[in-house]
Structure formats: structure tokens, C-alpha cells
């Protein structure tokens, strides 16, 4: 595996926006213990803007850095802007991820989509159109 970029290491060392939001407007929960990575994303929305964002993760360095970078990319942005944030954007912003670690950025994107879905469900009764997390892991703990 190639080494992590400086940017990844920096975010891994000092992850931004770690934690939970008690009264979150949307919560995303993605991943499972079996796969070795889980991400929880909490969003607070005001006037279509993500005014606060927090995350927690159980996972490797890339998962921690991806989550941290995601929160930076979406915090303070409008939902329209945030909907454009893909795992590719996360990878780019991190200066790249080693091949086997790209799935961590997918985890981050899916956590975001899942949180937005939750927000939509709560506010409109309907989920995020077309939402279907890619990193969904179906296998159970054996």
C-alpha cells in the first residue's frame, strides 16, 4: 500500500468536528464492525445551511481523515452545495488515498447521504431521492 499523504496524516492527527450533536436534525449511521469501519454523522440544519456538523468513527486512519475532511467540506454550506459533495471530492481534498482505502471516502459520502436522508425523512416525510448507500455491508458478525 502506498503511504498516506501529509494531508491525511494531518487530519488523522487532528480530526475536526469530532463528537455528537444532541439535538441533531439528521443522523447518518453507516458501516459495521464486521468490515472494520463505522461512521456516524450528525448534522444541524438552519435555512438550508448545515450550521453544525459532527462525526464519530470506528475505523482506520483513512476513515478518520475522510470523516474529518467531509465535515470541513460540508460545514456552513447549503444543502444544494452539500449534495454535490462526493467521495471523489473527499479524496481530492485529502490529496489522494491509497487504493485499498478509497472505500473509506465512500463511507464518508454515504454517511452524509444517510444523514441528509434522515433529515429529509424527519422534515418532509420522504427520504433523499435515490438514496442507497454504496458502502452498505450486509454480512453479519459471525
Amino acid at each position: 500500500m502506498e503511504p498516506y499523504t501529509d494531508k491525511v496524516v494531518e487530519h488523522f492527527k487532528n480530526p475536526r468536528n469530532v463528537g455528537e450533536i444532541e439535538d441533531a436534525d439528521g443522523i447518518g449511521h453507516i458501516g459495521s464492525e464486521v468490515c472494520g469501519d463505522i461512521m456516524d454523522l450528525y448534522i444541524k440544519v438552519k435555512n438550508n445551511v448545515l450550521v453544525d456538523v459532527k462525526y464519530k468513527t470506528y475505523g482506520c486512519g483513512a476513515a478518520i481523515a475522510s470523516g474529518s475532511m467531509l465535515t470541513e467540506l460540508i460545514k456552513g454550506k447549503t444543502i444544494d452545495d452539500v449534495l454535490k459533495v462526493t467521495n471523489k471530492r473527499v479524496v481530492e481534498a485529502l490529496g489522494g488515498l491509497p487504493g485499498p482505502k478509497v472505500h473509506c471516502s465512500v463511507l464518508a459520502e454515504d454517511a452524509l447521504k444517510s444523514a441528509l436522508n434522515d433529515y429529509y425523512l424527519k422534515t418532509t416525510g420522504k427520504g433523499l431521492p435515490g438514496f442507497k448507500p454504496r458502502s452498505e455491508h450486509s454480512h453479519d458478525e459471525k
Binding site: 472494520g36 463505522i38 470506528y58 482506520c60 476513515a63 485499498p100
Partner: protein, 393 residues
């Protein structure tokens, strides 16, 4: 930055005396040992001296030692060499679920070529039950391969007992099932006597005990039916082609010499350090547990699971503090499955993901251990705070 190396099971720094022993063989005594002329003969003489040292080290005969490019080649050679050569006697091979990939993937390759392979289970401490070997032996079996000690969790197998079972089976049924052990992890730690162990083939690799990388050996007991794995010229009594890596072999010879002299001292030095680190972690960090056998264990191996956190993230945090170790988390290897060894011991996926291995060596100190015990708990606390699993508790 002060750096603490605690990954001696991955590789070791080459001993200064080993490096020195290699130097004359680059451009002074540089001949090809197969050449008949002076340059070839002096190289050959050197290689044969090293061969004698390695033979003494294992209590074998020089003609029973075949030099290879490392432990992996020795394992490939043993498995494929025996299986293919003795195919008309049977197509069944027995090994275990906790072997090194060099053995496991060779076995899997044999399966693609029509061989049957039995992968034995181990108990929660990583021990193979000799009775299981007995029960797995069939009239088709030509080879049993059980590692001497496991590289991840350090569990030492009852090789002598297994050898006895195979010998009895061979006697009773007039068979000649061969017994191979991968002793790559034990050569620097335990006395390896092929006679006492009762094995017919045994793999070692120099870089695991302060020798150079890229050189190892397969012990092949006299009379064993085995054809080459590395096909080529007539080197190594026609058992392995390729120009001998003379400097590497000379370094290997020096390394076994050093081990024979120092091993007992090393073990005396390492065991207390190992115990201190294991006890320290289990005492200080809640929800942590030891992987591998508490007693039948390599003197330098510490393998723990720390729940609710993932191994690579701990490893990288330790690395940021200058401490080098390894993990059985899948995330570190780019594969989907975490360590097959921890899984075979009955650890859950997440327990396997949360494992750390520290392996000590001759340069390890009390201070190193104290440093780890100072740093690791803080890292775990920090990571647990951001772990969704920990909250759920």
C-alpha cells in the same frame, strides 16, 4: 524523534557482524560457486562453510540444507515440492488455519491443481490438537505442515507430539507421510533440533534473526522424495536452480552462529519485558485481552485486542509517537478479512480489527516498554472517545 522498534517479527536490523561477514563476497570472493575455476571454488568453499553452520544450527547434515531466497520460498518448496513429487502416492495435504500465507496460499494453489487440503482448526489459544492431525490422516496424505510458532500470536505448537503421531501412522500403515514445519519465527527464539522435533522438512529465514533479507533455507531430511520448486541448473545438489546468493548465505551463516551464542541471553532479556508489556496493557486498558497462548508463547510476542477501536488507527497513532508495531486488522493489509489467525482463534471480526502486535528484539529495553505503556492508554482513550462502538457500551 526517538523511535522505538517493536516489530521484530516483521524483520530485524541486520547484526553488524553479519554485515561485516558479507562484505568480502561482493567483489573479492565474488565467483559463481558452480564455476570450476579458482573464483568458483573459493566461493563454493565459503558457501559450504555456511551450509555447515546452518546444518549445525538445526542439528542436521550439510547435505540436508538447501538455501533459498527466504522463508516464503522454503514454504513453497516444501509444499509444492512434496505434493507434486509424491502425487502418485496420494493427493492429500494437511495443514492448519493459522499458517503463514506462504503455506496457506501454496496449499490453495495445490487445490487449484487437483489436490485435497485439510485445514485444521486451532483452539482459542491457537493450539493445534495433535489428535486432529491423527484423525485427518488418510491413505492419500503425503504431507502434514504445521508451523512451529505463529507469527501473529506467538503460540508454540506441539511439534514433537505431532511428529510422533505421523511416525506411528507411517509405521502402522507402511506409509511415508512427510512432516514439514515453518520455523521462520522460532529460529531466533527457541532451540531448533530437527532430530528432536522429528520433522522431515523445516523452513527458516535469516532476516527474522538479524541475518540479511532475501536468504533462507529448507531442511530436507535425507531420503526425502522431493523435486525442485525453483527449476534451473544443478545448484544445491540439483534441488534448487539459480546462482547462489553468496554474500547473503555468508550473512546467514554468521547469523546462526550469533544466535547459537546469544539465544539464551536474548530469551532471558525478552521474557520479562514481554510479560511486563502484556500485564501493563491488560491492567491499564479496560476491555483489552491477550491473543495467543499465555504460556506456550514466543518470548518476544505481545498480541492484544483492544475493544471498540480499530488496529490501524492505533498503529498510526503509535507511529506518530515513534513506536512501531503491527496489527491484524484487515484495514492494514488492504484485504477485506481481518487476520485469518485471530479469526481461527475464535475472535470476532471487531476483536480482530482491534488487535495490536508488539514484537521485541535484542535492542528492546525496559524504557521502551514503559514508553508504550505511557502512550498507548492515551491513544486508546482518544480513539474510543470518537468511536461509535464505545458509546454503545
Amino acid at each position: 524523534m526517538k523511535r522505538i522498534y517493536m516489530d521484530y517479527a516483521a524483520t530485524t536490523p541486520t547484526h553488524e557482524e553479519v554485515v561485516a561477514a558479507m562484505q568480502p563476497y561482493y567483489n573479492n570472493i565474488f565467483g559463481n560457486p558452480s564455476s570450476l575455476h579458482f573464483f568458483g571454488r573459493e566461493a563454493r568453499k565459503a558457501v559450504d562453510e555456511a551450509r555447515l553452520k546452518v546444518a549445525n544450527f538445526l542439528n542436521a547434515k550439510p547435505e540436508e540444507i538447501v538455501f533459498t531466497s527466504g522463508g516464503t520460498e522454503a514454504d513453497n518448496f516444501a509444499l509444492k515440492g512434496i505434493a507434486f513429487t509424491n502425487r502418485e502416492r496420494g493427493n492429500h495435504v494437511i495443514t492448519t488455519k493459522i499458517e503463514h500465507h506462504a503455506v496457506l496460499e501454496s496449499a490453495q494453489f495445490l487445490e487449484t491443481q487437483g489436490f485435497e487440503v485439510t485445514y485444521l482448526d486451532v483452539d482459542t489459544n491457537g493450539l493445534v490438537n495433535p489428535e486432529d492431525v491423527k484423525n485427518a490422516l488418510t491413505p492419500q496424505t503425503t504431507l502434514v505442515s504445521v508451523m512451529h510458532a505463529n507469527n501473529e500470536v506467538g503460540t508454540i505448537q506441539p511439534i514433537e507430539e505431532i511428529a510422533k503421531i505421523i511416525t506411528d501412522f507411517n509405521h502402522e500403515h507402511s506409509r511415508s507421510v512427510y512432516f514439514h514445519t515453518d520455523a521462520v519465527q522460532t529460529a531466533g527464539a527457541l532451540n531448533i533440533d530437527v532430530q528432536k522435533l522429528g520433522v522431515g522438512l523445516l523452513s527458516i529465514s535469516a532476516h527474522k534473526f538479524y541475518g540479511p533479507k532475501g536468504v533462507g533455507a529448507l531442511f530436507i531430511k535425507k531420503g526425502t522424495r522431493i523435486k525442485p520448486f525453483m527449476h534451473g541448473g544443478g545448484q544445491e545438489r540439483r534441488r534448487r536452480g539459480s546462482t547462489e546468493n553468496v554474500p547473503g548465505i555468508m550473512g546467514f551463516g554468521k547469523a546462526v552462529e550469533i544466535v547459537m551464542k546469544e539465544r539464551e541471553n536474548w530469551v532471558k532479556h525478552l521474557e520479562p519485558l514481554r510479560n511486563k508489556l502484556i500485564e501493563g496493557i491488560l491492567n491499564i486498558i479496560p476491555d483489552s485481552m491477550l491473543n495467543g497462548h499465555p504460556q506456550k508463547r514466543l518470548p518476544n510476542n505481545i498480541n492484544v485486542t483492544i475493544k471498540y477501536v480499530e488496529g490501524e488507527s492505533m498503529l498510526l497513532n503509535l507511529d506518530l509517537e515513534g513506536i512501531a508495531c503491527s496489527t491484524g486488522s484487515a484495514c492494514s493489509s488492504g484485504s477485506l478479512e481481518p487476520s485469518h489467525v485471530l479469526r481461527a482463534l475464535g475472535r470476532t471480526h471487531s476483536e480482530s480489527h482491534g488487535s495490536l502486535r508488539f514484537t521485541l528484539g535484542r535492542h528492546s529495553t525496559k524504557e521502551d516498554v514503559a514508553d508504550v505503556l505511557g502512550v498507548l492508554p492515551k491513544i486508546v482513550t482518544r480513539l474510543r472517545e470518537m468511536s461509535p462502538l464505545y458509546k454503545k457500551k
